[in-house]
């Protein structure tokens, strides 16, 4: 078990290295010159000034030298400085990461809390009206884009609940009530597709398990329907659900990018969108690296959860 975790953490280093090479090259392959964007439609752009700025940012060096400089910095824990503000990239990220993690965490929790009863209900009442309604709603939830749902909710809230604080962000430490009140709508918008996806997976996975022989045996020997469902079926139906949760965390992180834009929440998504538009190379690289690490780490937790759910799973 321990050796498995260590090996997976070592894998993480290689994954991060691969991602760093990819993101470094991809960023520079897309057209657009960071220096020209910075100077914008300036009245006085001379080739000298462009060159001077390029030098001061270290962008005149050949690509492999730029990469090497950046990589050696990263290994020492220095992600470089933002091209535009001059602030350390790590500071920029750490200022926003808690915001995004709070939003993602709440959305994940909300999705699990809501989708489980729905999935179980739908499976146990298979073919009934409730099941049909749930399935239709699930399709809707999967297809409605969360930014659109967000904007709609914002509009309705502004008309029917004008006193409800919906926009922006206040740190939890400053104003816990205000912080949570502002999280409600974004959390609903982000978790909606996940609720739909999870409840569908849980439903089908439960149905698979419920058709297995041991369930029939249990029923034959007179076990209560409730005991059968919760004690014997649910646990075995969890493996695919947990896998999907792990994958969904990735979608959640990308969904949050758009929702942060809609609700004016100062998180990682806002940071990275701005950084990409500005071709703020060190900032984009830093954010992607951190987000990748979070994603890989979550998947490691998912893999470890298998053993907890199903003691037969062993890590070799």
């Amino acid at each position: 078990m321990t050796s498995y975790v260590v090996r997976r953490l070592l894998d993480l280093v290689f994954v991060l290295f691969g991602v760093s090479v990819l993101i470094f090259l991809m960023l520079r392959m897309i057209p657009g010159d960071a220096v020209l964007i910075m100077l914008g439609a300036n009245v006085d752009i001379t080739p000298d000034r462009v060159e001077a700025l390029r030098r001061s940012l270290g962008l005149h060096l050949p690509l492999h030298e730029q990469y090497w400089q950046w990589l050696t910095g990263v290994v020492r824990g220095d992600l470089g400085r933002s091209i535009w503000t001059g602030r350390p990239v790590l500071d920029e990220i750490l200022a926003r990461l808690p915001v995004t993690l709070q939003l993602t965490g709440l959305a994940l929790a909300a999705a699990i809390v809501v989708s489980f009863p729905i999935g179980i209900l739908s499976a146990s009442l298979r073919g009934g009206t409730a099941d049909t309604v749930v399935r239709i709603l699930a399709i809707l939830g999967l297809t409605l884009p969360s930014f659109w749902v967000g904007v709609l909710m914002l509009y309705f809230a502004s008309i029917y609940l004008p006193l409800w604080p919906t926009i922006g962000y206040v740190p939890f430490a400053d104003d816990p009530g205000g912080n949570l009140a502002r999280m409600v709508l974004p959390v609903i918008a982000v978790s909606l597709p996940m609720v739909a996806g999870l409840s569908r997976i849980l439903r089908s996975s439960l149905l698979d398990v419920l058709s297995l022989d041991y369930i029939r045996t249990g029923r034959a020997k007179g076990l209560a329907r409730r005991t059968l469902l919760y004690k014997h079926a649910l646990r075995n139906a969890m493996i695919p659900v947990v896998t999907v949760i792990g994958v969904q965390v990735g979608y959640l992180l990308s969904g949050v990018v758009v929702i942060e834009q809609v609700f004016a929440i100062p998180g990682i998504g806002r940071l990275v969108i701005g950084a990409i538009n500005e071709r703020n190379y060190p900032l984009v690289q830093g954010v992607i690296l951190i987000v990748t690490a979070v994603f890989v780490f979550v998947n490691l937790l998912v893999d470890l959860a298998y053993a907890w759910i199903d003691p037969r799973v062993e890590y070799a």
């Binding site: 020209l36 439609a41 300036n42 809230a157 004008p162 926009i167 071709r279």
Partner: protein, 495 residues
């Protein structure tokens, strides 16, 4: 005792209606704060509250005294003497003097600073402080736009520059508001300057610029009262917010405009007949309806808002839409089968993309087969700057003096002449417009220039939008300016 004084002071503040914060919703964080370096509108709408120039531009586009109380010009038009306001202090408490004007000028023209304002003051030969409150600018040659450029000479404090190396993160000016706090991607907070030189201003205790990227979110926040004021409302949102009770919508004719610019060194637009045909093929009235919901005015090279200078569009023969005449011109220029070309546009500006599509459809009748290529900012700027386009659609800013926009855009080698347009007759007129100091002589020169540029120049000017600002009814005293400046936030009070 101390507590009592504080309470009294607070009560006094409330009595003057000062104890409130005006909540403003803007789309972006400021891209740096150094008034001599930045170019972004997101920065200027904040900087303008904190710093002053010698003169400022009022809502009627006239120059008004700010840090200078008056000036005199020598008869030869070479020497400008400014009397400075007495008793003004910077936010750090130090008195403002003529030496600060000299320093600020020197900082702008210093190549090390890299200020985009430098070219505006290239004509200045020397700046001297005669005494504490008198400063003299001597020009190398008469230069009519000089005074109009002066609001760009923002007065900064030398000791602050030296302490912080640059002014991108810190602001110490003489203006009505002082920098209190910046929270990246969240808000910028300015507080009232208690020693501001205009008595009774500002009218609120603080301004908070909330960063809210989505237009629909800003509009929703205005409805709920989370925000008091949103500047620069797009035409579609202005339509929806216009009818809401409790919200006032202000509109003013803007100086900036939408345009189709062409590359004059590439076929087919290297031929002036093709450029004229392009103008003939565009129906500007229809475009105003389709893109701006009627809230814009067709215009030529100068904004109709510049009432002293702009010619009425009826003067331009190519502004009456005529697809048949356009086809004939194309045939004459050697394109009887029409023309295929690309219009480059910028995805972040909704109005521009809409305008490009409307123009694309209109041009089709005249034999122009345009492909609209929507790019994101980075790619657009690069291709724009390198003149790597057949044609592009964009927005351009204006200036209160006609020279401010025309010279850099149309002079051969001009700094924003990405069209690579070169016309010796235009260059001569541009120089004449700068040298002539008499207003009526200049009006004649700029009328000639507008006629020369409207139909055959490198830009098909489309429309000058109405600039909208929305605020809640509890806000009073806000005056909107065609320059997009938010200077009159200092007059705003909250009821």
């Amino acid at each position: 005792m101390r507590r009592r004084i504080l309470t009294l002071a607070l009560a006094a503040l409330i009595g003057f209606g000062l104890a409130q914060t005006l909540e403003i919703a803007v789309d972006q964080s400021p891209a740096g704060l150094d008034p001599h370096i930045v170019t972004a509108f997101s920065s200027f709408q904040i900087i303008g509250q904190v710093y002053d120039g010698l003169l400022e531009i009022n809502a009627d586009l006239q120059l008004e005294p700010a840090l200078a109380t008056g000036y005199s010009v020598s008869p030869d038009g070479l020497t400008y003497t400014f009397d400075l306001r007495d008793g003004v202090t910077f936010h750090n408490g130090r008195p403002f003097t003529a030496a600060d004007v000299v320093y600020s000028y020197e900082r702008i023209i210093d190549v090390e600073t890299g200020s985009p304002q430098a070219s505006r003051f290239a004509i200045v030969a020397s700046v001297e402080a005669i005494d504490e409150l008198t400063v003299v600018f001597t020009l190398a040659e008469p230069y009519a736009p000089f005074l109009a450029n002066l609001p760009n000479l923002t007065i900064v404090a030398q000791e602050v520059v030296e302490e912080h190396d640059n002014l991108q993160q810190v602001m110490v000016g003489t203006g009505p508001f002082m920098l209190a706090e910046i929270v990246p991607d969240t808000y910028t907070l300015l507080t009232a300057n208690p020693d501001y030189y205009r008595a009774g201003e500002p009218g609120v205790a603080a301004l908070r610029y909330n960063v809210v990227p989505e237009a629909s979110t800003r509009a929703a926040g205005l409805r709920t009262g989370a925000y008091h004021l949103i500047p620069d409302v797009d035409p579609a949102t202005a339509q929806t917010l216009g009818g809401v009770t409790g919200i006032t919508m202000l509109g003013v004719q803007e100086l900036s405009y939408s345009l189709i610019g062409v590359n004059t060194t590439r076929p087919p637009f290297d031929d002036a007949r093709v450029r004229r045909a392009l103008n003939l093929a565009i129906d500007r009235d229809e475009l105003v309806e389709a893109v701006y919901f009627g809230s814009a005015a067709p215009g030529g090279p100068l904004s109709p808002g510049l009432t002293d200078w702009a010619l009425p569009v009826a003067e331009y023969s190519c502004y009456a839409p005529d697809a048949a005449a356009a086809r004939a011109l194309l045939a004459e220029a050697g394109y009887p089968d029409g023309i295929d070309f690309e219009i480059l546009t910028l995805g972040t500006l909704r109005v521009v993309v809409d305008a490009a599509q409307v123009v694309q459809a209109q041009l089709a009748d005249a034999g122009f087969r345009a492909t609209v290529n929507v790019e994101e900012l980075g790619t657009f700027v690069q291709r724009w700057r390198n003149s790597d386009f057949d044609a592009f659609a964009s927005l351009n800013g204006g200036n209160i003096d006609p020279d401010g926009y025309l010279d850099r855009t149309f002079r051969s080698g001009g700094s924003t002449n990405v069209f690579l347009y070169s016309n010796p007759a235009v260059d001569t007129l541009l120089t004449a417009g700068q040298r002539a100091v008499d207003v009526s002589t200049r009006q004649g020169i700029y009328a000639d220039l507008q006629r020369a540029l409207a139909c055959d120049g490198p830009i098909a000017h489309l429309a000058y939008a109405t600039l909208f600002t929305a605020h809640r009814d509890e806000v009073s005293g806000f005056v909107q300016t065609p320059t997009r400046s938010l200077r009159y936030l200092r007059n705003v009070t909250l009821n």
